[in-house]
Every structure is written in C-alpha cells, then in structure tokens.
Amino acid sequence: MAFEIGETAVKRHRHIGLTDQDVMNIYENMLLARVLDERMWLLNRAGKLPFVVSGQGQEGAQAAAAYALDKQRDVILPYYRDLAMVLAFGETPLDILLANFGRANDLSSGGRQMPGHFSARRHRIFSQSSPVTTQLPHAAGIALAARMRGEDLVTYVSFGEGSSNQGDFHEACNFAGVHKLPVIFFCENNHYAISVPLHKQIGSKYVADRAAGYGFPGIVVDGNDVLSVYAHMKDAVERALRGEGPTLIEALTYRLHPHSSDDDDRSYRSKEEVEAARARDALVTFRRYMIDEGVLTEQEEKDLRNRLTQDVDRAIEEAERSPLPAPESALNHVYADGK
C-alpha cells in the first residue's frame, strides 16, 4: 500500500473513495462488535454464559472487509471471530446473544450450535461448523453455483492462519483458482492457533505466499490499518466481479483475549506481548485517526459508545427473557420432511 497512517495531508480515506460518513460507519461497526464482545465476556465471568469466543483485536480488519462487500449481492462464510463482519451483514446484537444463550429463536441454529457459529440465510451468511476450514470449499461452491445461475457476486470466506494448514485450504484455493471463481479468501492471521505460535504453524513467512501456487494474488496487509484493508478488499472485489478470479488477503492481526473463555493464554504468551498489541489495536488507532482528522470528536465517540452499550444491554435483557427450545425440538429438521 502507498499509504501509511499519519502520513497524509489530505484525509487519507478520501484518497480511497471513502467519505467521512463511510469511515464513521466502519468505526461504528467495529465499536458495536467490541462493546458486544466485552459484554459477553462479562456475562461469561458472571456465570451467565457458558462459553465465549472473541473477535477482539480483529474488528478493524473485519469491518473494513465488510465495507467493501455488497450486503445484497455477496455471500459471506465467516469464521467464529467474525463478529464485526456478521453485524455488518445484518445480524443484530440480539441475534448474537440469542445464539450465545442457546435460545429457541436463535437465528443461526435454534440453539443447536455453540456461540460463534454464525448463519443466517436472510443475511446471506452461510452456516459454519466447528471443524476448521471446511467452509473454504463451500465458498468456491457457492461462487460456482452463482456463476452457473447467472448471478454476479463475490463470496467472502475467512479463517485463521492456523486453519490455512488444513488440506481443505489447499483444495479449495486450487479449485477456485482453476475455475477463476469470485472468491475472496480472507485470512485473519492473529499469530496463534490457540497456543501454537506462527513459526510452528507455517513453513513460509506469510500465508499469502501460498496464493501463487494457485495462480492468484496473495496480499499481506496490516489488519489494524482499516483503510488499507478496505482498499485491498475493494480491489479484490472488483477483480472477482471482472471474472479474474480469487484473491487471498492476509490481514495481520492479534487476538487480544485468550482463545476462548475456556483458554488461559498465560502459558504461551507474555503480558508484554499482549499489551504491545493493545496499543496497535484498530479500535485505538483508527479512533485516533478519525479524531485527528476531525471526522469524530471525543464527545461524539463517547455518545456513540454509550448508545451502543445501551442497545447491547437492552438486547441482553431481551435475550435472557427469551424462551429456551422445547426439548423434543431436538428431533426436528434432520431431513426436509422433518423426520
């Protein structure tokens, strides 16, 4: 990328075609995800939620990527950290919380799946399982189906860098490469697969180095640099729509929390390392950028945070009041005829 944060005289986001309102929208998306995520950890620590898996530290990359997609046209296959992404695609905090609380009217699964397994056909969000990387061939399949049906779209599929070591990564990338399918492979490289550090995970320096082996571009981008992620995503979307095939984008990020509420990260990384990452967090740096550029004032930011917090708190109350599924409903929908 030609731009680095802080380098611009003219507002940097204008250079890449984003208005002040656009960056506000992106920031609001990031912030909502963060506020909701923080609340879920509190609920977990209070014993109200059995399990939380967190996107904190990765919202900037996700919100930027989401903003380059068309919510009516594209299909996303997010992974469990993509809270900001699915909120951008129309899920509400209530939807997320209903899933976390395992309630009957959980949009993604009727309380069947663990939290973080996003799905909503109405929002063009494909259903995810837990074995990692299985969604990558699906992204190719949806792109293929769309092409056969004469629909122009992009499929966006995300995954961690650890998951890029599964065979399905290879098979899906190659399939998409051979058929020049409009798929964006978005790797959120947060440098750990649970406890395993990057150098024990991948033989190369970057996951993006693998794209050449499938005949399409592989791009490494600072995942905390919201505008840079957006610009690369936009290029990739245009490339896909022009029929030129897939792009692999690797966003370098960091996971600020333990792997999940069941994890304890002290055995495998230092407090200092985490603190250093907190300083680079897009929630901090992009906020500063917006304030520096005069897109947002401290007060506006505070008001926004309050409003979002209130929205989330209301959603928590509603989710908690919401009924659990009936036990026998476990038998439904194994097959189309209900049996």
Binding site: G141, G167, E171, F175, V334
Partner: protein
C-alpha cells in the same frame, strides 16, 4: 420399456434429470471427455457442455465440499467419486458438513446433493478398488444411503436421489455395470428411498441382502429350490433409512433369517438388521439370526485365489442357507 444394462440405466437417469432441471450438474474426476473411467457419464459432456459435466482437480474433499456449497446455493450437484475407496478424504465434508447442514441451521440451509460411488469387488481391484464402504455412512443421521441391484432400481433410485432435498450417497456396484440388465422404462419414474423389495417369495428361510449379493442369493435360492428348500429373499435397496417394516415382515414369513453382504461382518449393515430383528421380532424366530459377510481382513486382495477367498459367491451363500434351513 426396454432391456438395459445397469450402467446404462445410471447414465439415463443423469441425462434425463439434466434435461429436466438445469440445476442438475455433474462434477468429478474424468467425467468429461473421458466419460468417466467406467463410462457412466459417456456422452454427457457433448450434450451439456463442460460446465455441467465438470472435470475437477484430483481432490475428493473439494469435490464434495464444492458440491455442498453449490447445493446450498440452489444447484443439484451429482458428485462422482471415482472409486468408493477414495471417498475417505471426503469423509469430513460428508459427515460434518453435508449430513449436518440442515440440522445445524435449524432448516435454514439445505444440501440436496448426490454422491455417486462405484464400490464392490470381484474385479481384480485389490485392496483399494474393491471395498464396500456403506457401513461408514449408515450410522450417520442426516444422510441417506442407497444401493440399487437392478437396472430398474439403478435408474429409479438415482432419480429419487437427485430430486431428494437432502444428501444421498448412491453406491453402485462396479461388478454389476455390465453384468446386470433388466427392463427399464424409458420415461422418468422414481423408486422411493427407504423401501426394500421382495425378490423372491418363499416359506422356509428368509435372506436379507443388497447389491450384487442379491443376485448371488437368488442364484443360490434357485439351487436350493431344487433341493426342496424355499427361500424368501429381501433386497434392502436403501441402507439408510432401513425399511424396518419390510424386514420384520420378511422375518415373519419364515422365522429363519440369514443376512448376507459383501462387506465384512463386524459392524456391517447386517449388524443393524440383526439387531432390529432381535429387538422387535425375537419371538418370531425359530433359529439364531445368521450373518454371512466378508472375512475380518482389511480389504480384498488382488491375487485370484485370495480374492476368491474373500468374495462371497452363490455356493458360499447356498451353504449358509442350507445350514439355516437345517437348523
């Protein structure tokens, strides 16, 4: 109506369904200009083009995984696995994804996918081109598994599978492709998934079987008829779901049951059939429930005496039937 080979019935079903529904397409290895290594897709690329008869990279997990995505997004893929033995790299996509997609999304997404896989032995295919794989899948709710044994069923069950809103694994016995022929309607028709077929009426013993073994059993039954033993033969056709009523009815007919399959015995489909009978028709039985299957060895060897040792044949089946009748 005309007499058709088993293999031609399969090709017919695909051709007619592709003509009927533009959402139906085929993907797999060598399905295009080669027409499949067994020639099941012969001629289809000429009629439907290379997008709908798609040669894929050599990657079974992608073949199934891409098909899952396409099925969820409105298509009706038929994924061909070149030999059933090579379905194993795709097991995660089949069991974790295809079988669970509707359930896990609470009916929001669906997966109308057919996986066709030539299976079975007696063709000098050795350890990895002869296996029966149905036992790995008949345990998995969310899947359907069918195994036709006649050309009529091959066409009718494949049409059912293609129209089914859920994933269906269609195992076709490669030893039957050019061995079996029977009357097949030219038009379209369906054989419902989940219904067994009585192949022979009899009064002394009941044999429950499927696939190539149906034919061997019928041959054995003719032999036994000469000896005065009357065998009732049920062809399961669907392995998941099993036709429980037909099984129990067949048991009641004679009170003596033998279950026969090419696959090895332990944990095979015969185990479940036997368990259903022992659970629901125990007091109809006049003899222990017998099972006859392949030996407990990893797979069928290449060398003719070893392959012959593994494979069942009408003689081995007749022997087991005689023992049961004499009980």
């Amino acid at each position: 109506m005309s007499v058709k080979l088993y293999i031609d019935a399969i090709t017919d079903a695909m051709r007619q369904e592709m003509e009927r529904d533009p959402a139906v397409f085929i993907l797999g290895e060598d399905v295009g200009v080669r027409g499949g290594v067994f020639r099941t897709t012969q001629g289809l690329i000429d009629q439907f083009g290379e997008e709908r008869v798609m040669d894929t990279p050599l990657a079974e997990s992608a073949i199934v995984g891409v098909a899952v995505g396409a099925a969820a997004y409105g298509m009706r893929p038929i994924a061909e696995i070149q030999f059933a033995d090579f379905i194993l790299p795709a097991v995660n996509q089949i069991i974790s994804e295809a079988a669970k997609l509707r359930y896990r999304s609470n009916n929001d997404w669906q997966c109308p996918l057919v996986i066709r896989a030539p299976f079975g032995g007696g063709v000098h295919g050795a350890l990895y081109h002869s296996q029966s794989l149905e036992a790995l899948f008949y345990h998995i709710p969310g899947l359907k598994v069918v195994i036709p044994s006649t050309a009529y069923d091959a066409k009718g069950l494949l049409i059912s599978a293609i129209r089914d809103p859920d994933p269906v694994i269609y195992f076709e016995h490669k030893g039957m492709y050019r061995l079996i022929k029977d009357e097949v309607p030219d038009d379209d028709y369906v054989v419902p998934i989940g219904k067994a077929a009585v192949r022979r009426d009899g009064t002394d013993i009941t044999v429950i079987t499927y696939g190539l073994m149906s034919h061997y059993t019928l041959t054995a039954a003719e032999e036994l008829a000469k000896e005065g033993i009357s065998a009732h033969v049920l062809d399961l056709r669907s392995i998941l779901p099993l036709d429980k009523e037909a099984i129990l009815e067949a048991v009641r007919k004679t009170g003596k049951v033998l279950i026969v399959h090419e696959d090895n015995k332990t944990g095979g489909v015969g185990a479940e059939v036997s368990a259903i009978i022992a659970e629901e028709a125990l007091f109809e039985l006049d003899a222990p429930i017998a099972r006859l299957g392949g030996p407990e060895i990893p797979a069928m060897p290449f060398s003719p005496p070893l392959e012959k040792f593994y494979m069942l044949n009408p003689d081995k089946i007749a022997k087991a039937m005689r023992e049961l009748a004499a009980f």
